[in-house]
Symmetry: C2
């Protein structure tokens, strides 16, 4: 059996499925807008452990990861479908109520309406499939395929936090008893914030400007869910380009220092740790006129070196091997 991404590629080719392979599928909607749709499956003891996550965080995260996929297409989320499978002994607790509380606390400010889904019993594990439907101006979805040689590469925030938070949880540190710096890392793991235009009614005008700027300017985009090294590879493969990343420009989560003082180890976490849910995007340098771009992290450039990702420092260049997350 091939690896996960190879398998998806195989299915795509075998059955001529041209809408598969980006953060969302883009479907025709009407004269002004296209529809976006994405699903994320979250499985207990694979993607989370029950002891790590209060139900409220799980409800938040289930929605957040799918909203992030809509953001990665330059879109706006509108509707959500939630399929939850739960063991009988969990059903009899407050779990489901608290799960939905966390879900709606995120859904409401983002203007997302729950429109359906399914509820099923499972033998012993919790499983959630979160589908979000959004829209984007017609033919304006930002695909993974649009990166051009010479484009500049940006990320929207510091990396490695979610992965370091996961490591703390795996070491047995709980959110409740964690020190402040540990809490900041664990929060990135259990309660990620999708980078997206929040309802314009709310007072997030600076944030809205940033989102609009990205959506107008990005030639390609993806959200960092598997890890920077893997996600830049996804863009390179889809766009048939290469990339060079500047080692010293990769933004490391401030609290990684709590985990390790070694720069190379911090860098490894930032490059290969998943689930930061920051956006990774490319922009034609001609369009970098807005000083708001200073708020993003410029980390590299798109090259003609197809399929190769170079990691460049002052002293040497190495080839970066994608080591982000894959299930199989």
């Amino acid at each position: 059996m091939p690896k996960e991404f190879e398998f998806i590629n195989k299915i795509r080719q075998q059955y001529s499925l041209d809408k598969i392979g980006d953060d969302c599928a883009v479907l025709p909607k009407n004269k002004t807008h296209d529809m976006l749709i994405t699903s994320d499956l979250i499985v207990e003891d694979i993607d989370f452990r029950r002891s790590w996550m209060i139900p409220e965080f799980l409800g938040h995260k289930a929605l957040a990861v799918s909203i992030s996929d809509i953001a990665a297409m330059g879109g706006k989320p509108l509707y959500s479908m939630l399929s939850i499978g739960i063991p009988e002994d969990v059903w009899t607790t407050d779990f489901v109520d608290e799960f939905y509380e966390g879900y709606f606390k995120l859904a409401r400010p983002f203007g997302v309406e729950l429109i359906g889904g399914d509820v099923s019993k499972t033998p012993d594990k919790i499983v959630i499939d979160s589908t979000v439907i959004g829209e984007v101006e017609r033919n304006k979805a930002v695909m993974r395929t649009g990166a051009k040689v010479g484009d500049l590469i940006f990320v929207t925030g510091e990396l490695g936090g979610a992965s370091a938070g996961l490591k703390l949880l795996e070491e047995g540190i709980s959110f409740e008893t964690a020190k402040t710096w540990q809490k900041q890392l664990i929060s990135k793991q259990v309660k990620p914030s999708p980078f997206l235009i929040i309802s314009e009614k709310l007072n997030f005008s600076k944030f809205v400007n940033y989102s609009l700027l990205i959506n107008r300017s990005a030639t390609s985009m993806i959200d960092i869910s598997d890890g920077l090294s893997s996600d830049i590879e996804h863009i390179c493969k889809a766009s048939k380009v290469g990339a060079k990343l500047f080692k010293e420009k990769i933004p490391l989560h401030k609290r990684l220092r709590g985990v390790t003082n070694n720069f190379e180890e911090q860098l490894d976490i930032a490059l290969n740790g998943g689930e930061d849910f920051e956006l990774l995007f490319t922009v034609n340098p001609k369009n970098i006129f807005d000083k708001n771009f200073d708020s993003f992290f410029y980390i590299g450039e798109v090259t003609a070196n197809v399929g190769n990702i170079e990691l460049i420092s002052d002293t040497k260049t190495t080839i970066l091997q994608p080591k982000g997350y894959q299930h199989f």
Copy 2:
């Protein structure tokens, strides 16, 4: 914790979710059409056992149950999202390839395009969430809410087969070794056929006529997934009406005779066994002019006796208690 349907009702009221509660959510699409969307979660050892289902049947069924929800709104399926969670030891077999073979064998003639989903590892059980997106003429979706007092109640086919097939599987009879009559029942369980307009290019003109007739005439509709007694209750509750069903007119699957010779036992299977995926619909008697209606089974009438479902025979009337499937 309340029961499944009560819980869904509670969430719907608590968070003012007016798109939840029918076979599909109906969303605005464009000037001529509305969008339909539905999800079904299928869990190993709850909804099926691996020993019962060759992977091909499972791929078929995962899609069929969601297509049936689109049919139950009078719609046409267009796209599908498939989220599959599989244990590592299953991933290394031909399971996934055969699963998709079964899936595409149904998807192609129905004109359904796979546009996305997710693949995840699970600790030990297979889990599938099948989302289907379709469309229907604007404001023409057939809801559960439209049944009116005096409407006639129809089903599209014989009932009880899938439930009887399940019982045979539970008794250890496998599809491969089953006798012909047993195979017919087991097929209804493992490889259900959604009642729907199949691509008009194919030679199913009679079938197309039936589907169009239903979609034009039905005042309310649901697919029989939980069981006739529960599904007629879903219509009655949504439409704020009651119903009387004529005991002798309930169409019993011919092969139920193999399971039991007792009429009352056969009737119990047909009333309370789920997963037949026939359509249950109501029609204003003024519109019963087309002789094609003779191909459906007229089983009862909508009454003003709100919330009560009466089961009527020549000799007596009893109140029918919904005993169809619910997870919790």
